[in-house]
Symmetry: C2
Subunit: 209 residues, 2 copies
């Protein structure tokens, strides 16, 4: 690879740091940009250089935003007494495609001792403060009523379950209801190939027709 | 997606212009960069912004380089009488991993009328000039001998075959030998699943043991 000019090698190396991008994909991307009429290295470069400019977390729900409070927290038609707790900002977008009308809290990760992720690395204190303060930020915003329910929507894997248990312990004396997303069969699933944990969850959570 | 800050949306859109990157992958990449400790949007952004700086094509073989002539063309130990013609710069890197000791010519594409790629869009004239001049650039470098062989290594698909035929017609009166890479079974292939064109190529090109 030393045959390639250093700036090409460097761009290939940087692309390889992205999730799911190996050497071949990184090479293809760099040469695509060098030749493409649709995108250019300068356009993507400028978009990335300016990515973090004026970007911060909503003081209430920790969603990425360019304002102090995000659009969802500012929307008076949302049910501010229900907080859906997610791992990442993209999961907010996913739940917004459903009919969910409450508000959110973004943890920015899950508990994972192996990766050095403890409660201090996550936005856990902000969630606890928010529940203790009763539905608004601790920064002196008026209380409009307590939190009725916290729905923990971390992924159904080892870290997600551990994080959910930890949050339940932290919140059980602050909010009346701490719930977890249902386990069950995804739409279009084939029961024959479903794993036993999913099937048990679907059985335990069965509903009357 | 309008829920996301505009600079994030823009970066996601730019990533989607890369080959093989859909919306989900683009979203993952942007949020990975926002959070990652390994890479950062600024580092990748700077690498891309500077990608084309001081980058041009070797005056002889059209390989990407930061110099006037690339390292391979400058290397006196290479056999300058054999030219391997490839579609893209990355294919030079691929052949360098073999024992090939000749030099190269990069076309920067293949003939493809549907995509508006004619001979003028490719580095065909440069190849013809090179063969006519006898192995060195037309810029006054001393002639050390004519080209003995041009090996056309375009991909074995419709465009690659058409490009190979076109080059053979253009070069047949300039160089003694215009050859094409062998068709045959790739290493590790399963004959049962090989297509008929590959099998016919392998039969036609059979060698004595």
């Amino acid at each position: 690879v030393s045959l390639l000019p250093p700036q090409i090698t460097r761009a290939i190396e940087e692309f390889q740091k992205l999730p799911g991008i190996g050497m071949k994909s990184a090479e293809r991307m760099v040469f695509h940009l060098l030749r493409s009429t649709r995108g250019s290295p300068e356009t993507l470069g400028a978009a990335l250089t300016g990515l973090k400019a004026n970007l911060h977390y909503c003081v209430q729900c920790q969603m990425v935003t360019t304002k102090e409070r995000c659009d969802i927290c500012e929307d008076p038609s949302r049910d501010a007494t229900t907080i859906l707790v997610v791992e990442e900002p993209l999961e907010v977008i996913a739940f917004e495609r459903t009919q969910y009308k409450g508000v959110y809290h973004v943890l920015h990760g899950v508990l994972s001792p192996i990766d050095g992720m403890g409660p201090e690395q996550l936005k856990v204190r902000e969630l606890v403060d928010r529940c203790a303060a009763g539905g608004t930020s601790a920064e002196g915003m008026p209380k409009v009523g307590g939190i009725a329910e916290v729905i923990v929507a971390t992924d159904p894997d080892v870290e997600g379950e551990a994080t959910a248990s930890y949050l339940r312990e932290k919140l059980k004396n602050l909010v009346p209801k701490v719930t977890r997303l249902a386990h069950g069969l995804p739409m279009g699933a084939d029961i024959e190939f479903a794993d036993q944990v999913t099937l048990k969850g679907a059985l335990d959570g069965r509903r009357s027709l």
